[in-house]
Symmetry: C2
Subunit: 124 residues, 2 copies
């Protein structure tokens, strides 16, 4: 029965990080397991910084759904190494992917990564 909601909510099942836990039922429906909580907390921790949130938003809303690092260092007041650090955090949390193409490195938001979190926060 909850499958109906999932279809509506969650597009493709393409999970970003490939993590197992905390995938389906909204957390307000039944108590979160210990493992699932650790897993989820890791992703929310990656979102728990203003710079990273803006980075993610910039990447996602950039044309083509991806952005070069050179597009991302400008809008912030922090140094280039700091931006690089934040991008690494986002990548290791399974929220974005990256690839070097020639001189530049491009980042994109992994499809489904945010949708999975959104589905979990959904209030029935």
């Amino acid at each position: 029965m909850s499958n109906l909601e999932l279809q509506v909510l969650g597009q493709d099942g393409a999970d970003g990080g490939g993590e197992t836990a905390a995938c389906c039922s909204p957390m307000v429906r039944e108590p979160l397991g210990e493992e699932a909580a650790v897993d989820l907390a890791r992703k929310f921790k990656a979102l728990a910084d203003p710079v990273r949130l803006r980075l993610l938003s910039l990447i996602a809303s950039h044309e083509g759904g991806e952005a070069c690092v050179c597009d991302l260092t400008g809008p912030f007041d922090v140094s280039q190494p700091t931006i690089s650090h934040h991008l690494k955090v986002l990548r290791e949390a399974g929220l974005v992917g990256s690839e070097r193409r020639g001189t530049w490195v491009y980042y994109w938001v992994l499809p489904g990564a945010l949708a999975t979190l959104a589905a979990l926060l959904q209030t029935p």
Copy 2:
């Protein structure tokens, strides 16, 4: 709550926290403003801990939608002051409300608080 459908479809300004920033458009649609990012990060930071996530989930899924602190200290391996601290963090983030009723203190998830975050993470 016939708003559910609206939330599923996309926006809907179901505010819960009463905060101003970052209320409507999914963050993958247009770049997040600086203020909105700070505001959002504060809430995600409150979610960025396994104990707090499980607390929130326990509270929300408890019968009646609220739980006494005495129901919340048992399932965890951490001390009572630590639980109290985490509850305070959740409250100050605008995610839960609390009230003392006689001997016990009850906590509940503020309606719309999680839905607002979910809407922001929604991928169009």
